[in-house]
């Protein structure tokens, strides 16, 4: 191939390249508004995230306030139950003394002449005075019921541990959302050429366990107990040496 035809080939290649470049520039020009739209959408989404995380924090505060109110009410119920149980104890003691007196009275009346004895013991008032078994049974039953209510009240209080557990779950979600927001803000900043640092790390406001769960599954405690028992055995062996 001579020099002239090489030049012609080169000119054709440059021509083709120019066309390609023109097409690329046209495509980039068309892409710019799309990228701007994406940037605006990202900025718009990022601006909404703080409100979302704030709302999550509000949920935690609200559940904590409500939980404290419930605990206050449960404490009040417990105090009242204790007072009633104390009064019932006094009433029970009084009833026991009355039962003893009624027994003594019955012995005395049994020594009366038959006619007088019959007149006394067949009067409805006699039964009211001496048959104290029904009120004693009612008192015992009421005491049992109150103790059960007290236990239920304690179970309700213990179930409120769910507030701490869910607040940790919420904090975990809040932290993840905040991390996404910072990453999006970082991408926008890079697009605008404002920043080129590493993505900043989101500070943890309230430490949380992201695996916190409200479960009655006892296997986790059983596993923990196994480890504790192993430690105890090792300590005994170490002490013996």
């Amino acid at each position: 191939m001579n020099a002239q035809s090489e030049f012609e080939t080169l000119a054709m290649t440059i021509d083709t390249g120019k066309t390609g470049m023109r097409q690329l520039l046209t495509m980039l020009r068309a892409l710019m508004p799309v990228l701007d739209n994406i940037k605006n959408a990202v900025e718009n989404s990022s601006s909404k995230i703080p409100k979302a995380t704030e709302q999550l924090s509000t949920v935690t505060q609200a559940t904590e306030s409500a939980t404290m109110e419930i605990l206050n009410l449960l404490d009040d119920i417990s105090r009242r139950i204790d007072l009633v149980l104390s009064s019932m104890q006094s009433a029970g003691n009084d009833l026991a003394r009355k039962q003893e007196a009624a027994a003594v009275l019955s012995v005395l009346v049994s020594q009366f002449p038959p006619e007088q004895r019959r007149a006394l013991t067949e009067a409805p008032e006699w039964t009211v005075l001496t048959d104290l078994a029904p009120p004693a049974a009612a008192l015992t039953q009421s005491r049992t019921d109150l103790q059960e209510i007290s236990a239920v009240s304690m179970n309700i209080a213990m179930a409120l541990q769910v507030q701490d557990i869910t607040s940790q779950q919420i904090e975990s979600v809040r932290h993840q959302i905040e991390s996404v927001r910072m990453q999006l803000s970082h991408v926008v900043g890079q697009y605008e050429g404002k920043i080129d640092d590493d993505v900043p790390v989101v500070p943890i406001k309230r430490p949380f366990d992201e695996e916190a769960s409200y479960t009655k599954d006892e296997s986790r405690q059983a596993d923990a107990d196994d480890i504790i028992a192993q430690f105890a055995r090792q300590a005994v062996v170490a002490n013996n040496h």
């Binding site: 607040s167 406001k205 695996e211």
Partner: protein, 129 residues
């Protein structure tokens, strides 16, 4: 002998629940702290016989508190029970290596709390604060 408990948790709800549970099983003397740092300050100032601590807390977490208490001072041998949501084996192992005496995973019952306290008191003498 009244045992003085120091309950440490950043959750107001949990402090209240643990305190109530302690009272329900007969332990009425309880002081509270919201994080490890406050707990250590209270321990130095007011003393306590038994420490019940959460793990995840701001300022100073429960594990750091345990290590600090065990490192030196008048309370280095005090009974310590960790009450936390962290239930995986690695966490329990780490807590035991930091020398907690026992470990309860939330949610717990008053009976479980009593059992753990009884187990600890069998082997760790309480030195009055």
């Amino acid at each position: 002998m009244a045992i003085k408990f120091l309950v440490v948790d950043d959750s107001l709800t949990m402090r209240r629940i643990v305190t109530n549970a302690l009272k329900s099983i007969g332990y009425d003397t309880v002081i509270e702290a919201g994080d490890g740092k406050e707990a250590f300050t209270k321990l130095q100032a007011e003393g306590a016989d038994f420490l019940i601590s959460d793990w995840n807390m701001p300022e100073m977490n429960g594990l750091e508190l345990v290590k600090l208490v065990r490192s030196a001072g008048a309370h280095m041998e005090m009974p310590i029970l960790m009450v936390t949501t962290r239930g995986n084996k690695a966490d329990v192992l780490e807590a035991m290596q930091a020398r907690v005496n026992n470990y309860i995973i939330k949610p717990f019952t008053p009976q479980a709390l009593k059992e753990k306290i009884d187990q600890i008191l069998k082997v760790v003498p309480v030195e009055k604060a």
